[in-house]
Symmetry: C2
Subunit: 198 residues, 2 copies
DNA sequence: CGTCTATTTGAATGTACTCAAAAGCGGTGG
DNA sequence: CCACCGCTTTTGAGTACATTCAAATAGACG
């Protein structure tokens, strides 16, 4: 098994145990994909038909609000997963766009293959449930920060948690994710620098 | 099976199929519990040892921020589930408090019983995974609203989505959940009333 | 090199917060 | 049954954080 697939399977095994035999079948269902910066994995209006594992690089998902402004829902860094879970699960047409923010190496699991794995391997369901749980916990923390912390604090939390984010994502997208304007993030960074808290 | 338990099992079956035999074993693992207003289901500092199904009433989970202010993480209305999923899953001590906001009827699933069900019934794992997925989607929507919408919009979204929330929760807690001060929510409601948009 | 987009800068504005105080409301004990 | 206590909600003035808009500068990409 390639080193890349080994990273993927190690990710699956993080919070559960899966036998080597199962892992080799499971990992055979993924398709490797190299994508250029800004390439779309999902466009709003379509139905989301795959889950992506980010081996290298970074992707973002976002939506356009009622005023047509881009709102970043999440970033997926290396060793993360990304999809529109709502559209993927329920077959709705998606409102979400997913796009690489830099050149990236992805592993794609189509809905058909996903369904096979879910019904064939209870251990895969467990792994997937754990992903959902962690995503939920992460998102809960994000909401909590949004209602609790001011913008500088949220920015510092984010950059501490994901030190490479400024390489992987534009300031505009980071501002969107933080829920502030790019202008204000710019001013805020300048102020933090002057105070030596960057 | 009691009518109350039937609501519970119907909830489990919402997004998957479970046989009647399995359902009767699964539901036998829950303990019925009547709780008074403001009773604690979990106190910060303890480890969360159960998941609760709210048959009737309402519960809230919250945390105290670095300034000692109460921050409401979620409400669980009738036919919802509530726990500290992080503490419950990983055995950490919890930072979260869970409390009924009104007199409520709950069904409690202890960690031991949960583990039995998860390992014994793949269909229960599927149901639980679906709960996690929906919680994740709900929380993602909350984050998105927090970065996209202003306070009046968030308030109207919330009250439209959960029309009974004002019976079940204090204005103070609703304000906390929305990420605004109670004073501002009060002013905001007055303004909406005058404009006839309540 | 030129074009397009991202980032920076600054002034004016608005949304939401803090603080303080008054009014309302529910529960409890005399 | 009512009076009191504690907590929630309301009100208002002053303030702070973050936005909008406009324009200049910098960077990326063909």
């Amino acid at each position: 098994m390639s080193f890349e697939l080994e990273m993927l399977t190690r990710n699956l095994c993080k919070r559960t145990t899966i036998s080597p035999e199962e892992l080799s079948i499971i990992s055979s269902k993924f398709q490797r994909q190299e994508v250029a910066k800004n390439q779309f994995l999902l466009k709003g209006g379509r139905t989301c038909k795959a889950i992506y594992y980010v081996y290298r690089g970074c992707c973002k998902s976002y939506i356009f609000d009622s005023l047509g402004k881009k709102r970043v829902i999440m970033f997926a860094f290396a060793d993360w997963w990304i999809t529109d879970i709502d559209s993927f699960t329920n077959g709705h047409q998606s409102k979400i766009n997913i796009q690489s923010t830099v050149g990236s190496i992805l592993y794609k699991l189509t809905k058909e293959n996903f369904n096979e794995l879910i019904s064939g391997f209870p251990s895969f369901e467990t792994a997937f449930r754990n992903m959902m749980q962690f995503s939920y916990i992460r998102e809960q923390r994000r909401s909590l920060e949004l209602i609790t912390d001011d913008a500088p604090t949220r920015y510092l939390n984010l950059t501490n948690r994901y030190p490479n984010i400024e390489q992987d994502a534009s300031q505009k997208d980071i501002a969107s994710y933080l829920g502030i304007t790019p202008e204000f993030l710019s001013a805020l960074k300048k102020k933090l620098l002057k105070e030596g808290r960057s």
